[in-house]
Each structure stands twice: as structure tokens, then as C-alpha cells.
């Protein structure tokens, strides 16, 4: 790729910093050039985020239908999976999986709820209102 051919499509990272790319100069030697972004990358990122938004919406529906506990919604909202959530809360994976059931969630102690709320950066009350921050 020639130096002038380095893509310069302004992406979300481009607004904050430019990326370093390797390209050839006029004499064919390799050198570095800064790029603002590339639309193919931006497109891929958009697809990924769209999927995440859909997952969040689906999780919300599930919670409202009483098929899952609010923890599922917040887990998707923070892009976590059961492993990550278990890591941050200090619960075992099987415990987290259990807490995702609405019946079990209702009986959770205040302490455990606080632990989840801390990890999700929300208040315990948000679990019942499903407010998005």
C-alpha cells in the first residue's frame, strides 16, 4: 500500500487518536503513516454493536416476560458473559447462572444484590426499573 492510499475515513477512534499504519513512500521504502480510520473497520464495528443492541433488547424482553432475572439485562448491557460476571462479582459461574432465574433472583439477599449492583455500576433499585445509564 502506498502512503497516499492509507484509508482516511473518520471513525470513532479517529476522533480521539490516529492509528499508525505501515505504507511505502515514493521510493518504495517502508515508512509509517497515520490513519483516521477505515470504513470497512467502521462497518464491522457497527455490525458488532448492532448485534449487541439486539441482544440487549432481547434480554429486556425476556426479563419483562419473567423468563430471566434483571441480571441478564444488565449483563448484556455491560457486554459481559457469565464468566466475566462471575469473575467481577466473585461468585461461582453456577451461582451466577442460578441467579439469572427470576425465582432465585427474588430471594437474593440484599448483600448479594449490592455486589451485583456495584459491578454493573448501577443502584439496586435499577434492577426493578431496568433503567439504562
Amino acid at each position: 500500500m502506498k502512503k497516499e492510499e492509507v484509508p482516511q475515513d473518520l471513525g470513532s477512534l479517529g476522533k480521539i487518536t490516529k492509528e499508525l499504519c505501515y505504507a511505502t513512500d515514493d521510493s518504495g521504502k517502508y515508512t509509517t503513516e497515520l490513519s483516521q480510520g477505515w470504513e470497512v473497520k467502521a462497518g464491522a464495528l457497527d455490525v458488532a454493536w448492532q448485534d449487541i443492541e439486539e441482544r440487549i433488547a432481547a434480554a429486556r424482553e425476556k426479563v419483562l416476560r419473567q423468563e430471566a432475572s434483571p441480571l441478564l439485562y444488565f449483563m448484556e448491557l455491560k457486554l459481559m458473559d457469565i464468566g466475566v460476571l462471575a469473575g467481577y462479582t466473585g461468585f461461582w459461574k453456577w451461582q451466577v447462572r442460578r441467579h439469572l432465574r427470576p425465582g432465585v433472583f427474588k430471594k437474593l439477599s440484599a448483600r448479594k444484590l449490592r455486589r451485583y449492583a456495584e459491578v454493573f455500576d448501577v443502584s439496586v433499585n435499577d434492577f426493578y426499573t431496568l433503567t439504562r445509564t
Partner: protein, 275 residues
């Protein structure tokens, strides 16, 4: 305290950290492509059954940490590396290092990095950055992805150092210890060994999923995705592949660093001349 340190921007975080740390202890000749080559950074593997962020897992590079380790090993530089259980000890060790004038590399999770745009924050734990001092209660951070140095508070740094999930960094810090001077011969030998090891990784790993065979295998699978997974999911998987290759630091600059057309590049451009 602030250590005299020049921020270097790089195409890939681990290369960048390796180059910065080595330059800081007086290895002047190291460059990003050189570190990547000596460390045999290029690799490919596609693991269909393993899922990352709800998509298939690809890797375009060696295991995190290996580029640094191999480059230092080839140049005969000792490495100090430490993981922690206790957050308090992790912080104390970092402060000690800074006090004694060592610039340290840290493995961190991306999700809570304050200066990253929201769109790039995923739970990805193999990012590397350098801490080179502390001013007014904030750590001075040199992240090779960013153009300029950044700062982070105690709490922010602790949170990214103790990110959880796959490959959790557990506060890992590392720095090279300055030893005897590096000769051109050592670099040349390192390059030779690096290439040999890279050939082994790309051509001679048994099974269809790694190296060149892995690339061919992935290509064949991609053709079938549309029928087997449906348009939507196939698109998602493809987006995942692009992101793994170009972003998240797994591949990005690497392909373009290594696979340069030979006609465009004289070996003398990167290999120090002499002997």
C-alpha cells in the same frame, strides 16, 4: 516522580510496549517490525468451537506476552515479570518500580480504559501499556495505540489491571533489566531464529486450523457460512473476523508489517549493517 521516557506510537500494542521498554534501557536499534520479527509474532489460528464475544475465535498473533519474551530472550535481556493476588501489593510493587527508576509494562483489560472511545470497549484482556511515572496523584501512561501519553487515577489503573474474564491480567507487570550491550550480531541471529520459528509456526503445526493451513481452512468455512448460518449470522462472523484482524490489536498492523513485497524493501532497511 517522572522518568525520562519517550512515548512511541505503534501499530500493535505489544510491539509498541516491547520497543519502548527496550529503547528505554538503551537498545537503540530496535524498531517495531524488528521486534515483531524477532518475537515471531505472526501466527494464525481459527478455533471454530471456541466463542469470543458470541462469535468464532481467531488469532492473528502469538499468545500475548510472547513477542516481548522472545525478543528479550534473543537479545540476552533478563525480564522481570510479576502477577499479584492482592491489589494492594500490586500497587506497592508498581510504585517501588517507578521509585527505582524502572518504566514498567502492564497487561490490562480494555473495557474500563478511560481514554478509549466507548465503541472500542470490549472485555478484552490482552492489551499492553506502559506506566512511566506519577504526577499529582495520577499515573502517566504511554499506550502505544494512542498518539500522546495519557494519565490514569489510582482507581482506574487498578480496575484495568485487575480486569476479569478470559486471560485476566491479575495485575501483571513486567520490565526488562539492562544488561550487557546488544551487538549487531545478536540482532542478526535473533532475526534468523525468529524467521525459523515463524516458519515452524505457520507451516509445520499438525492439524488444519493453525498456520497457512488454518487460513485456507477458514477461507473454505467462510464460503459455507452463508448457507449454514444464514445471512445475518454469517455477517456477524465476518465482522468478527475483520475486527480481530484489524482492531483489538490482534492483527492490525502485523500483517502489513511482515508481509511486505520483497522488492519494496531492502534488508538493510531494518537489519543493522556491519560484519
Amino acid at each position: 516522580m517522572k522518568i525520562d521516557f519517550a512515548h512511541i506510537q505503534a501499530a500493535h500494542c505489544e510491539n509498541g510496549v516491547t520497543v519502548s521498554l527496550l529503547k528505554n534501557i538503551g537498545v537503540e536499534k530496535i524498531t517495531e517490525p524488528l521486534a515483531f520479527g524477532i518475537g515471531s509474532g505472526l501466527f494464525f489460528v481459527y478455533i471454530p468451537l471456541l466463542k469470543v464475544n458470541n462469535g468464532p475465535a481467531f488469532a492473528f498473533r502469538t499468545m500475548p506476552g510472547l513477542i516481548f519474551k522472545r525478543t528479550c530472550h534473543a537479545l540476552g535481556i533478563a525480564v522481570r515479570r510479576k502477577k499479584f493476588r492482592s491489589k494492594k501489593k500490586a500497587r506497592e510493587f508498581l510504585e517501588e518500580c517507578l521509585d527505582s527508576g524502572h518504566v514498567v509494562g502492564c497487561q490490562v483489560g480494555v473495557y474500563y480504559l478511560p481514554y478509549f472511545p466507548k465503541e472500542y470497549r470490549f472485555h478484552f484482556n490482552a492489551h499492553n501499556l506502559i506506566v512511566f511515572g506519577k504526577e499529582e496523584g495520577r499515573y502517566l501512561i504511554s499506550d502505544p495505540i494512542m498518539e500522546k501519553p495519557e494519565t490514569m487515577s489510582d482507581y482506574e489503573l487498578e480496575r484495568v489491571r485487575f480486569a476479569r474474564g478470559v486471560l485476566s491480567p491479575r495485575g501483571q507487570v513486567y520490565y526488562p533489566v539492562a544488561g550487557r550491550p546488544i551487538s549487531d550480531g545478536m540482532i542478526q541471529k535473533g532475526i534468523k531464529n525468529g524467521i525459523t520459528r515463524n516458519i515452524r509456526d505457520m507451516l509445520h503445526i499438525p492439524g488444519p486450523i493453525a498456520g497457512v493451513k488454518g487460513i485456507r481452512y477458514t477461507g473454505q468455512r467462510i464460503k459455507k457460512w452463508r448457507d449454514s448460518l444464514g445471512v445475518k449470522k454469517a455477517g456477524l462472523y465476518l465482522a468478527q473476523l475483520v475486527r480481530m484482524q484489524e482492531e483489538i490489536g490482534t492483527g492490525g498492523g502485523e500483517g502489513s508489517v511482515i508481509f511486505m513485497p520483497p522488492s519494496c524493501r531492502k534488508p538493510t532497511d531494518i537489519i543493522p549493517t556491519g560484519s
